[in-house]
Symmetry: C2
Subunit: 252 residues, 2 copies
């Protein structure tokens, strides 16, 4: 927390409270990240035991959401924060909603794994799904890291990667449609795999949201409904590499 310089203008006790909340958000993020990784492993390895665990793993995450939310409301009432302290609390309130929904999507991976009953699909589509899953888990981890360090530049770079994830999802979706047409008996299973890909794609969306809250906290700018280029300009950050590619693609 010290690197955020929040301690400069607030009481020691208040600083501790904010630090405690931020650490709980990181704990929640860690749990959700593990849920997603386990969900993906369960799916790819057809590990039904792990799938059952993931499908029923929401209790801790939900509990943390409620707990953090209560603490944020208590801090707003008791400490009446302003400026960056206030933006931190508001960003946290929003971040945990997205984290909880990432947990919901991970649960779906577990549930779909349990309802999948075909091995034939594996060889054809699972490597693509693994690829998408790897990208999504990296994006989630990057967004959590940008939150941990409150690094707006890293957040903007992470936002840029959402476009690739969406393109990968579209490609998997098209391949699965072709597969269904070739073998209509596989339709129900191929749809379940499509839903899994969709769940992963949505985890990317939620990770992007978290990055937008990081930019809001650090820069005080709301970059939710602007292009990445506009966002980078508005907060005076030079994005290049992946981010620039996304801009060329007309990312929004």
């Amino acid at each position: 927390m010290s690197d955020l310089n929040l301690g400069d203008h607030i009481s020691h006790r208040f600083n501790e409270e904010l630090e405690s909340i931020r650490s709980k958000v990181m704990t929640m993020g860690g749990l959700v990240e593990k849920q997603v990784q386990d969900g993906l492993t369960a799916l790819i390895d057809n590990n039904r035991e792990l799938a059952e665990l993931v499908a029923a793993s929401d209790v801790k995450v939900n509990g943390l959401e409620v707990e953090i939310d209560e603490e944020c409301t208590r801090i707003l009432a008791k400490r009446q924060p302003t400026a960056s302290d206030l933006r931190l609390v508001v960003s946290i309130i929003k971040t945990i909603t997205d984290l909880e929904r990432i947990g919901d999507e991970a649960e779906k991976l577990g549930r779909y794994t349990l309802s999948l009953n075909d091995q034939g699909l594996r060889s054809r589509h699972y490597s693509q799904l693994q690829h998408l899953g790897d990208h999504v888990t990296r994006m989630l981890r990057d967004s959590l890291n940008s939150f941990a360090h409150m690094d707006a530049e890293a957040a903007l770079h992470t936002i840029a990667s959402d476009k690739k994830i969406n393109a990968e999802f579209e490609s998997i979706s098209r391949n699965l449609i072709t597969h269904m047409m070739e073998d209509p008996r596989e339709i129900a299973n191929a749809l379940r795999v499509t839903w899994c890909a969709r769940a992963l794609e949505r985890i990317g969306d939620h990770s992007k949201n978290i990055c937008e809250y990081v930019v809001f906290f650090v820069k005080g700018k709301d970059v939710r409904h602007v292009t990445l280029n506009e966002a980078a300009e508005s907060v005076d950050i030079d994005i290049s590499g992946d981010a620039a590619e996304a801009i060329e693609d007309g990312d929004k």
Copy 2:
């Protein structure tokens, strides 16, 4: 606003500010409700002009989200609200996120309508989709009404209806799978219709979230991760009729 008795313990000016925000949330809700209705009409009537409008209708809603968010943050900083005033502001911050995402789902209805290029599906599945759409728009309207009147009992009854919507979605989804198996050439279109049904189902989820924030504002209880029965008990509200049915079904 007067029926919420917020004016009792706060300055006249503060009351006006809260009223202004609440009225903007209702405006945003009205816009989103119209987006959903238009999206549904465009889909059912294959009205491509309307579909294009809906697919590009996010500007106003997004603008309101940013504006209301900024006003909420300003009120938190300037007025440092406590108790029910604070709960109102927090509920509004969360509500507008869900409203904005309902708008996103409505946009998808527009986009899928534009990519649908088959009339044969209509007669078979659109009456079911219309049915689901009617239920979802009613649920959204009910959730906005429960927000307008801050009526926790109405909110709980509305939450109960989400279960029926989920069941309807599952039924449509199964029928579409059967349709795809019977006519594999229709797979791509049937999938688009499935995505539309999914968008409607998610609008139900977001409406449910809004109702949960209403209960949080009125009762100060977080009922997000408990069964409807537990929620009703915890806030001392007797739910019967639709709500009781959902409980019997083991609604969570």
